[in-house]
Symmetry: C2
Subunit: 253 residues, 2 copies
C-alpha cells in the first residue's frame, strides 16, 4: 500500500530488494522470528550491506520488521487497527474510554497548544498524562491540556497529584457540554518520556494525533496523543452513519 | 507536540541539541533559508557530526527541516492542514473534490486491497490514479481501486485510457448509492512512482490513508492515498456536527 510502482519509473536497487525480501518474509518467516544477520542476508541476496540496510529500513517504516536493541531484527505482527475517530464524540475520561489516567501536573503548555487554548503565554494549565494499552501492548501516550477556566470547580485539596488528580480533572471537565471536536494526524518523533512509555528508542517515528475539544464557544481542552507508528494503524470510521449489511471487518486483516 | 520530556527521564545528547537547534531556527532563520553545512553547525554547537546528524534527522521527521538533493538543508514552512475527514461523505470525483484524475489502468490489486474488495486473487480491477495539489504543491498521490462489478455500465469504447478514462470510471461510480466509508492512517514509505509525483526521494516517510467506500452492502471501492509526511498535517474535522460560536481556526497556525 503506498508502494506502487509504474513500469516507466526506474527502481532504485534497494527497492527491488525490498520486494524480494517482502516475498521471503511472507513465505519463509513467521511473526516474531529473528532474521539472519546483515552479513548473511546481504550474501544470500547478492547485495551490498548498505543496500540491504536501506531495504530493511523501508520495511521497518512500513511495519513489516521490528528492530529491537539486544534482540535483532524480527518479523513484525500485522499492525493493529486503533480507533481514533471522533465518532465517540465524548469528553476524555467518559465511559468506555480506552485511556488510563497516569498522572497530572501543572505547567505552561507548548506554544501551539497555548494558541489553541487562547491562554496567556505564561499561563499554567493542568496536564493530564494518560496511556493507552491494546492487547497488552502500550500503543499510545497522551498529554491532555486543560486550562483552569475549563474546570473552575476543581478543588486542590481532594487529590493534589497523581492518577487521582488526573481523574478529578477529567470528572470536572464532564460538567461542560461538549460542542464538537476536531482532529489532526501528523508525523513526529518520540520524545524521551514517550519513547520509554511506548517501549521505543527516542526519536522513533510516531503518529501524533491532536484533538481539540470545543465547549462554550472555545477550545476547552487539547489532547496530544503519540501513537507507535510501527504497530498502529489509526482508524477513523464513521460507523454511526454507515449502514453495512454484513460485517466489513470480517475479511480485513 | 509529541516531544515532551519529563524531568526524571535522561535525555540523549542529540535530544538536547534538537531543542537548542529548534530555538535557533525560531530566532535566527526564516522559512526557506539554507542552513550552514554540517561541519560548521557541529562546530558552532560543540557536538560531534553524528550527534548533529541525529538531531537534523529528528527535525526533518517533525517537519521543521527539509533536506533536498542539490540544495541542502532548508528551514521548512509550517505544515499545511489537509482535510481528509469523511465529513464530505461523497464518492471520489464528486463536486468540490480536491483530487485531479491523472490516469486509469487495469491490473490485479495488492492482496490487502483485494481482501477488502472481495475480488478473486487474479481478478483485475480499474485503478484510477489521481493527484492532489495544495497551494501549488503536490501533497498526495492516490490509487483508487474499482472492481468491474461497481461500474457495470462502463463502456470500453468512449475513453479507453488516460484521464478521460479515469473520469468515466468515477462518473459510473456515482450511480451507486454511497452507504458509508471508513478510513485508516498509517506510516509508509514512498514508492518510486509516488516519490516522483510528490517530489520526494523514494523511501521518504509518507502517511498512507486508506478509505473504503461501502455501497450495496459491500466495499465498492478502495482508495489508497499517499500524503507527504513532511509537509502535511491531516485534519479529520467533524465540522458538520460542531457548533462553533467563533472561527476556531482563526488563531491556529
Amino acid at each position: 500500500m503506498g508502494t506502487t510502482q509504474l513500469e516507466s519509473v526506474p527502481e532504485p536497487k534497494y527497492w527491488h530488494l525490498k520486494t524480494v525480501l517482502t516475498e521471503a518474509l511472507d513465505s519463509e518467516f513467521s511473526v516474531g522470528e529473528i532474521l539472519p544477520n546483515e552479513r548473511d542476508l546481504a550474501a544470500r541476496f547478492g547485495v551490498a550491506r548498505a543496500t540491504l540496510r536501506q531495504a530493511l529500513e523501508q520495511l521497518e517504516l512500513e511495519g513489516r520488521l521490528q528492530r529491537r536493541r539486544g534482540v535483532g531484527t524480527t518479523v513484525a505482527p500485522p499492525r493493529v487497527g486503533v480507533a481514533v475517530g471522533s465518532e465517540q464524540h465524548a469528553w476524555p475520561g467518559a465511559a468506555d474510554d480506552a485511556w488510563q489516567p497516569v498522572d497530572c501536573t501543572t505547567a505552561v503548555p507548548p506554544a501551539g497548544v497555548a494558541d489553541h487554548l487562547e491562554t496567556d503565554p505564561d499561563e499554567q494549565v493542568h496536564i493530564v498524562r494518560r496511556s493507552r494499552v491494546t492487547h497488552g501492548q502500550p500503543v499510545a501516550a497522551e498529554l491532555l491540556y486543560v486550562p483552569g477556566s475549563s474546570v473552575p470547580a476543581l478543588s486542590a485539596i481532594d487529590a493534589p497529584s497523581g492518577a487521582a488528580r488526573a481523574r478529578a480533572v477529567l470528572r470536572e471537565l464532564q460538567h461542560m457540554e461538549l460542542e464538537g471536536q476536531a482532529q489532526s494526524v501528523e508525523l513526529g518523533s518520540a520524545g524521551a518520556a514517550d519513547a520509554k512509555e511506548l517501549d521505543r528508542l527516542p526519536g522513533a517515528p510516531v503518529l501524533v494525533v491532536t484533538t481539540r475539544f470545543y465547549a462554550e464557544g472555545r477550545t476547552a481542552a487539547v489532547s496530544v496523543a503519540t501513537y507507535r507508528a510501527d504497530t498502529c494503524r489509526l482508524t477513523f470510521g464513521d460507523s454511526g452513519r454507515v449502514e453495512i449489511h454484513h460485517d466489513p471487518e470480517r475479511r480485513a486483516s
